[in-house]
């Protein structure tokens, strides 16, 4: 159970671990895009964790990263093709950020840090929890951006030519839009302020867990570095 809940709050990939920020900022102009990205990432994360955990016994340590990437890329291709075939409107809205799920650090990070060391059941739970944490963060971000930027909340999806769900409209906010919120600056500002809010709810400050910061300091310490990255 701890494997499942950890990803949602205590180690939320976006607000605490600072992983997978590119799609977070890019697609959160509408709530439905946030949900779509979350579901796509969940599919990939769940199955990538499962497969990586299943093959963890006989993957040579030196070439494990390329192997993980191929596993992840295969599932991303599945998502990409399925979305293009069944929900083209979503495929258009998410654009190049669907193929870019491959380089979403959450997925490679979990494969490397968790799934390659744990049993399949635990890895699946971990993947699911992380993905839910990721999706909740996307929904939160897109909620603020859409409601302030366009005065609506889009919960509508076009499936097989039919529209399912509704668009909630808030007349007052639709008259007074803060357009900047749906432009790029709004994404950075909203995420920064939300992170600040979550920091204020905690006693101790964030441990810096950005994979780049970690690796540069780690590498700088060791000077020589060559393990397949």
């Amino acid at each position: 159970m701890k494997n499942f809940t950890r990803g949602i709050f205590k180690e939320n990939p976006i607000f605490i671990l600072l992983l997978g920020l590119c799609p977070t900022l890019a697609v959160t102009t509408k709530v439905i895009n946030g949900i779509g990205m979350g579901v796509a990432t969940m599919f990939v994360l769940f199955f990538a964790n499962l497969v990586v955990s299943l093959i963890r016994g006989f993957v040579p340590a030196k070439i494990r990263i390329p192997i993980f990437i191929v596993v992840i890329a295969s599932f991303v291709t599945i998502v990409d093709l399925v979305l293009q075939a069944f929900i083209p409107s979503m495929a258009d809205a998410l654009g190049i950020f669907i193929p870019l799920i491959v380089v979403n650090c959450v997925i490679l990070g979990r494969a490397e840090a968790f799934a390659s060391k744990n049993k399949p059941a635990a890895s699946m739970l971990d993947g699911l929890g992380m993905a839910i944490g990721f999706m909740l963060a996307l929904i939160l971000l897109s909620f603020f951006r859409e409601i302030l930027g366009s005065g609506t909340l889009t919960l509508q999806i076009d499936l097989f030519g039919k529209s399912i769900g509704t668009i909630i409209k808030i007349p007052f906010l639709m008259k007074h839009k803060a357009l900047v919120m749906i432009f790029p600056p709004g994404a950075f500002l909203t995420l920064g302020l939300l992170m600040g809010y979550f920091n204020s709810r905690k006693k101790e400050p964030n441990p810096n867990t950005n994979v780049y910061t970690l690796m540069t300091s780690h590498i700088a310490k060791r000077k020589s570095f060559n393990n397949g990255w």
Binding site: C22, P66, V76, T77, A187, Y197, N208, T213
Partner: protein, 195 residues
């Protein structure tokens, strides 16, 4: 295709459609490596180098390998493999040829595989149906745009070290707010070039 078109493409990739501030590609290294100016410069140079090279190689792979066999749907897998092996290759070559360059760029190279700007540029090149010259120029411009944003950010963050910032915003939150303001400034370039 003229010199003018090429210059416009570079300017558009640097200012109007800056990879970091307008397209949200490469945010992780942008936040992670922007604490010190010299590491920002090193990372920027390494990314520009790999972006240019990978734009060329992925274009060739797409045109002469994926299209003839009609397996374009494998482009994501093919591109990420090409990029990963290219990065490894570049690292080994630089290590042998120029140890001093390796010392300054070497530690950033392994990180570039997971930089979404590289795969993003390759995907955009295919989407926009750029030819070889345009692809390489676009990759180079995108790298310059990334470097510019990273260096500006590092300069700002070095100064922020000494300033009084509310406790809850220290570290990453204020970095994002700064990035938001920079992005706002870069929006002023919209309209400079019509795409």
């Amino acid at each position: 295709m003229s010199i003018e078109a090429i210059l416009l493409l570079v300017a558009s990739a640097i200012f109007v459609n800056n990879f970091v501030l307008a397209k949200f590609l490469g945010i992780c290294p942008f936040i992670g490596v922007s604490k010190q100016l010299d590491s920002a410069i090193g990372m920027g140079m390494a990314v520009t180098f790999v972006l240019t090279l990978s734009s060329i190689v992925t274009f060739l792979v797409y045109k002469y390998l994926l299209v003839p066999f009609e397996i374009q749907y494998l482009k994501t897998i093919a591109f990420i493999l090409v990029i990963a092996s290219l990065v490894q290759l570049v690292e080994m070559i630089i290590e042998k040829v120029s140890p001093s360059l390796y010392k300054s760029l070497g530690i950033y190279l392994p990180l570039i595989t997971t930089n979404c700007a590289v795969l993003g540029a390759a995907t955009i090149n295919v989407q926009k149906k750029f030819d070889l010259l345009y692809s390489s120029v676009y990759g180079f411009g995108a790298g310059l745009g990334f470097t510019l944003a990273l260096i500006l950010m590092a300069g700002l963050r070095e100064r922020m070290e000494d300033s009084r910032i509310p406790r809850v915003l220290r570290g990453t939150p204020i970095a994002f707010i700064t990035a938001g303001l920079m992005s706002l400034a870069f929006m002023g370039f919209v309209g400079m070039i019509k795409e």
